[in-house]
Amino acid sequence: MSVLFAIVLLPLIAALLPRLVQSMGRSTVAIVTALPVLLALLLLLGTAPSVLVDGELLQAAVPWLPQAGLMLAFRLDGLAWLFALLILGIGLLVIVYGHYYLEKSDSGGRFFSLLLLFMAAMLGVVCSDNLLLLVVFWELTSISSFLLIGYWSGQAAARKGARMALTLTGAGGLALLAGVILIGQTVGSYDLGTVLASGDLIRSHALYPLMLVLVLLGVFTKSAQFPFHFWLPHAMSAPTPVSAYLHSATMVKAGVFLLARFYPALAGTDLWFVLVSSIGLVTLLLGAWMALFRHDLKGLLAYSTISHLGLITLLFGLSTRLAAVAAVFHVINHATFKASLFMAAGIIDHETGTRDIRKLGGLRRYLPHTMALATVASMAMAGVPLLNGFLSKEMFFAEAADTPLYGSLNWLVPTLATIAGMLSVAYSLRFVHDVFFGPVPAALVAHAPHEPRRLMRVPVEVLVLLCLAVGVFPAVVVGPLLAAAATATLGGELPEYSLAIWHGLNVPFLMSLLALTGGVAIYVWRAPLFALQRRWPRPHAPAIFEQAVQALVAVAGRFVRFIDNGALQRYVSWLMLPVALIMLAAMASRPDWLGEHALTPVDGLSILATIVAVLAALATVVLRRQRLVALLMISVVGLIVSLAFLRLSAPDLALTQLSVEVVTVLLLMLAMYFLPSRGVIESTWWDRSRDLFLSLSIGVGVGLLALFAMTHPGATISTFFIDNSIPGGGGANVVNVILVDFRGFDTLGEITVLAIAAAGIYALLENLGLCLPIYDPEGRPWAKDRSPLVLQMISRAVLPIALLVAMYILVRGHNMPGGGFIAGLITAVALVLQYVASGVHWVHARVPHNYHPLVAFGVLLAGLTGLASLLLGYPFLTSTFEYIYWPIVGKFELASAMLFDLGVYITVVGATLLILARLGKLSVVEQEEGN
């Protein structure tokens, strides 16, 4: 079913567009945003016949991470269809409204991108056919709503509100994930259909209470249920279109959507009833009570939303099938009237510059049209007959009155429901009367507000018309939709219900009547209530939340500062400590570190060399503060290591080590010139003993490990390389054939790393202003003779010899020790010698010294050699070779791998010279600037 994917993914892909076309004007942005949504809406409506009329279940799935049970699976049943309609329909209206609402200075592209992202996330939540996928989208709604609430990121309130919303809904999302995983593990599948069919299995599971609580945590945080309700009023710092969309119609409904979704799987137990209905009831009352006293228009609406969400939650909690139908119905109705009210509040804010009810009044003179719309919507909210709110509230009263539960307290629910109804009427009345009627405050007269652009009111009109239409012709307008959604929710047969305005003079009607009259009475005599409320000792939830967050941050900060105090030494110690402990443990557990593998014979010179290396290494440590001495010591170590490679049949390594040795020494000396040349003693005794312990235990451990490996027989895969070196690679030097042929891809990677390192060093040293030392470390001025003549002359004589040797080593590398790496280093050393002997200017006047392209060319050459074999139909970097006859030289074998090696050679030359010449030029640049 590609339609399903299209519906969900259209907004997701389109989320990129508004930012791209941002420069093309505000209208373009709005149109580009609206079109995909319209398209998705039309696609959705196109599925109406099959989903709503035939009751089909549309499904589409693509594996994502099937091993983890995560599928990109979507379903469209009645419930999902209803929510998708709300999301896309109201979304479209919000886009139109938002276009006129945003100021010219606001970034429309960012706003609409985020809005579309949120829309896609919401669609993903309601259409998911996989529990894990649902959680993914659920978190995406949290994140996108965080960004939307914090859209005006310059305002502290917006940032704070966004953070609060993210913390709570994000934490709820984690709880939901845990719950979902528990459910998935219990059922054995994350497939929604399977889970919904396994309700009995879940409910009888020992961990059912835990699953339920975890899922409900997700629901209650998202739907702003007590005691997590306080984030919603703070989220009102978002732009009003966001409030209208997220905080009335969609995101907060995600929670109750989940209640509906999991209804067949989780509902029906006493625990469900107690938890869901009591939380719903508390939220219903608390929200309504708080709403009455809000002075902020959007605050009032926010608390009213909390109250209505409580109502829906309560209905789901009542666990009767009719209550669930009523809940779904109220979802539709609340979305329509509350979105329109938010938009009206936005218009008022937009036109008068304030949302404070105390500063508003008599607006009917300026905004007659808006007044009419707001009044109708408020009446729907209050539950006045002939409007949609009345119908669902009527059903709610009926269910509340019929509740046989709570034992002898069975009068409690209907009474509290009626009181909530009264409060709802009262705050609705306050919203209309305080704003549109009464005297006009002086400040407003001067402001002279006027009706907004015609199109800005269209979305409100559409929604209000829907309120009316549903209220007057419920069965026609909303009947099939409600039936389909309720069927999907209940997962079975629908109970008997009738969508009529007049059911006769029954208990629910009386309750409605009572609520209406009581509400008017409360509004009329509200002054004492306001006084009472002012003295009301209330725990300030946001403050408590802030304190908790601050405490958490402080604890985390202390912990982080303990671990991460910025001292590199400490990090390395922390890293080394486990290594040392593991080493010690390993040494203790394996006493047989000297295996029975025959030892190779020892000779006196090797012992001598080892002693020298050990002494030099120790001297490096002891004399490290005399930095040049330390440098000479590591040269000795390097020389011995190279000789060891030679002795142990690794001439290639010896050659490489020797040439790297000298470039390293040059490099360190170049750096040492700038750095202080003597160290200071600053480690404490304790530091040094700790380091001694760490280094000794790791050193001994590594040594024993090496001994263990060397004296135990091991399997090797090298037989293949030795056997195939000549037939497969055309070279006798197996090490080189491995480098350029068998493992050529690795080598390509390595020279790339080398090139990147060189470029990185170049960039690091860019614009680095270092002071040149005038005196040497002992306080003597430097010698005046820049480059002794004899050195210059002899170095020039050495260059051709060295280059000849390098070429020789490069060419013969395939068959004898040598190769691109070594030849490259030798060439680099020979050229660096010219730098040392004759200076940068002399060299740069004679040698092309732009090493960047050289490095790039080398890597490219090596890569292209590989690609050439690809073109010829062989795998990447397959080498071919041919024997040719050269006069004088004799029979000569030419392998394509040699071209690869040439690439290696060029890269190494370029990278080494790039690094050293850059370091060397540091002082030259300084001097030039100085002069």
């Binding site: 003597r780 004899v790 050495v798």
Partner: protein
Amino acid sequence: MSVWVEGLVAALILIGAGFTLVGSIGLVRLQDVYTRLHGPTKATTLGVGGIILASLVFFTAQTGVLSVHEVLITLFLFITAPVSAHLLAKTAMHRQEKKVQSTRGEPWQQ
């Protein structure tokens, strides 16, 4: 390989190694850095030259073709050794390293 060649090689090796050793002994035994410069730069270079010559004779006799490596190494060594020594002497003078009585002249005062 004839006995004569072998004898020649052995002799060259022993002479070379002997000079090398003497150079190093000088490096240790002599009194100040200026005199110590003499040991390695002269004796050792000569010694290594002897050993390389031995190798040249040995491999040329073995393969019948003139062994080029050794020539190259010798050439290289004999070109560079004086330069190294020169620079080191310059360094010692620049740094005014301590000298013993018998080392005459104070060139850095010129």
